[in-house]
């Protein structure tokens, strides 16, 4: 059975990322003849000898005209073993915003490094973002290896640099592959021009890498989206008294009969049934959308979280968090915002900005405000409790958005706790972040 893998690509300006993505699509035969014909026509018009594969991915007119990529674009390709959803994140404009967006859903980040330039400031920052977002796997494609004469030493040097950085950032799984996106070496097929590299091609790696963590690694959490209560609208008599709580399982596994607690109220009950339109299930696991029936008639509504009774988060109104600031507006202590956590949106006030992350050193420096593309630590006070957990413990219930209550814009991507610190120094949680 085919499974899905979500990946995000990141890189710096002119490192050939669009070409690499175009090559993956082209060599995996995911480019269709009319798309290729269009690219070949435009390439010819521009006096190019070969089809410019970057044109496959540059979707907007301004991008084609300026030869740059503006926004995160999503691509789809498949092999016989796997289907891939690729978030293609541009490197130069608002790189933090784009990379954070792409990495938030990624099982794998594919990071490009130009073999001629080696590790750049941008590379360091992308690795820091991957660690911060707790992306399970990172593949560094050392591109333009043809332009350094397929030199084994260049690959070894860059690999050593990357491994050093990865260790310092607490990234558990980082691999390097020497590729030429332009010529196709080691992208889909293994190249005979890199005899010193006996590892898999990039696509082979993507096919083999385990997808995200298994559901059973985290406790059961189901944020309630809706109460399903058809009453008189039910066509079938048996469903007139139906009452179920619809949601997508955020993490974990649930079985009929499991003791659960409804948060933030703290009331306990057991799972009476797990329903889908296809019939009842005896167990269900993340990320399945289901409808739960509970044994007791409790007051449960959208925004509540149903959690495993013996392993439930403690709802809180005080949240210390790391936020990636995505807006032109400045975040200051005292700012009033909305916080969206799972299916609950509450008012929040920024008590304090306690630091800003220097991505080059992966260390926090003192800060009083945060601006566009800053990543900083804040203390928030909420108008109502949320069932938040540390992002490192459970990304789905540790993530939140900050939203501008006036214009509705998304201000920040938030993660409860200090995920980068905790990745770098496992087990040593800074006391200032204990709530």
């Amino acid at each position: 059975m085919s499974t899905l893998l979500r990946l995000a690509t990141a890189g710096s300006v002119d490192d050939g990322k669009s070409t690499l993505v175009g090559r993956l699509l082209y060599d995996s035969k995911s480019v269709l003849t009319d798309q290729l014909a269009a690219v070949e026509r435009v390439s010819r018009d521009r006096g190019l000898e070969q089809a410019d594969l970057a044109l496959l991915t540059d979707g907007l007119r301004a991008e084609r005209e300026q030869g740059i990529t503006i926004d995160v674009a999503y691509r789809y390709f498949a092999t016989t073993r796997r289907s891939f959803i690729l978030a293609d994140c541009p490197g130069h404009v608002q790189y933090t915003r784009n990379t954070v967006t792409g990495a938030s859903t990624a099982d794998v980040v594919v990071l490009l490094v130009d073999a001629r330039k080696g590790v750049l400031e941008q590379t360091r920052r992308h690795l820091a973002v991957a660690s911060l977002l707790r992306v399970p796997h990172v593949i560094v494609a050392i591109n333009k290896i043809d332009l350094v004469g397929f030199d084994a030493q260049v690959h070894a040097d860059v690999t050593a640099q990357i491994e050093g950085l990865a260790g310092g950032l607490g990234l558990a799984d980082v691999r390097t592959v020497p590729v030429s996106a332009l010529e196709g070496d080691n992208v889909v097929d293994r190249s005979d021009r890199t005899p010193w590299y006996d590892g898999p091609s990039l696509l082979e790696l993507l096919e083999e890498i385990p997808a995200a963590s298994l559901p059973e690694e985290h406790g059961f959490r189901l944020p309630v989206q809706l109460t399903i209560r058809p009453q008189a609208a039910a066509r079938e008599e048996q469903h007139r008294d139906y009452r179920g709580y619809a949601g997508q399982i955020a993490s974990g596994v649930v079985r009929v009969g499991d003791p659960v607690v409804v948060l933030p109220s703290g009331r306990r009950t057991t799972v009476a049934g797990i329903d889908t339109a296809d019939g009842e299930l005896t167990e269900a696991f993340a990320p399945r959308s289901v409808t739960l029936r509970l044994a007791d008639d409790l007051d449960v509504a959208r925004g509540d979280v149903i959690a495993a009774a013996d392993d439930a988060p403690v709802p809180t109104q005080d949240v210390n968090a790391t936020v990636c600031w995505l807006s032109d507006k400045t975040l200051r202590p005292g700012s009033r915002v909305l916080l969206k956590h799972t299916t609950r949106t509450v008012q929040a006030v920024v008590r304090d900005v306690t630091g800003c992350l220097d991505l080059d050193t992966a260390r926090s420096v003192p800060a009083e405000t945060l601006g566009l593309n800053d990543i900083g630590q804040v203390q928030l006070r909420l108008a109502a409790p949320v069932a938040a957990e540390e992002y490192v413990d459970n990304p789905r219930t540790g993530a939140f958005l900050l939203i501008d209550a006036q214009d509705g814009g998304t201000l920040a991507a938030g993660m409860v706790g200090e995920p980068l610190e905790e990745a770098r120094f496992p087990g040593r949680r800074p006391s200032q972040y204990s709530i």
Partner: protein, 352 residues
Amino acid sequence: MTASDPTTATTRGTTVSVTDTSETDTSETVEPIAVDSSAAPNQAEAGHTTEGAGLRRLTQLQALESEAIHIIREVVGEFERPVLLFSGGKDSMVMLHLAVKAFWPAPVPFPVLHVDTGHNFPEVIDFRDRTVERLGLRLVVASVQDYIDDGRLQDRADGTRNVLQTIPLLDAITGGRFDAVFGGGRRDEEKARAKERVYSLRDEFGQWDPRNQRPELWNLYNGRHRPGEHVRVFPLSNWTELDVWQYIQSEGIELPTLYYAHERQVFHRDGMWVAVGPVSQPREGEEVLTRTVRYRTVGDMSCTGAVESDATGVEHIVAEVAATRLTERGATRADDRASEAAMEDRKKEGYF
């Protein structure tokens, strides 16, 4: 419910339930709807976990289905007046099927909206009406023909009406005070769509601003908007054409018959087979032939092309799509091929 105040929709949404929505909105947006529960097919293999394999992993189709259902439920939880764009075509049938599953055993809590070009395949309109009847849905029709009849729109020289759909669509959204509009668009369809969000904010003119989109993180969707603005929602964003067909097969979703191979009188124009019909007559030199064809999309009959095919059943189409080397729009939509930026321009103006 009074005129929706969308800026408060998200916070108020924390207490919305399906029942609440239908109770309060019955007179205007939601007819009392009863879903024939047989419409939610009992697909044993789709419903089971992969316990047998020892690994708890959803299959690709299960993962896509759960993601789409989550999105559909979020919209009903947070918006006042959603509506589903429904043409009777395969993507809108998949959308409707997912909506039925999302709220089972309650009825689908929103109406459906068809932007009718007047250049329809008769069998598609029949199918649309039967489906709406079977599921007890309320159908809103925005008619391009009405706009042409009273002079608000004029037919174009090339005869296609796909591009004329934008104004009737926007008027229907405004007139129905719809704040969320579900579409079946997929990011794999076209390069400009690849950059569209699941929640795509539109201004009061329905315009899409591709350079100023909200970042979309994790599975947290931000649907807040100001009065007059609305959000287009694309729950099938991450599906491919092959996913759609495999899902139609595994769920047993019924489609209009023209998706399957049939004999039809056609003529060759702009590299496509065009059906002979009231709005698509052969010009001089265009020879009418009988061919075994099928359609990959349904749209304006005058500019939607057929492909030669012997695929009489869904299993044949799954095999054909898996092997095909032409995107569905490239094969069969003359209007999308006009310029490299054709879709981007139409989307900016408020097209689907």
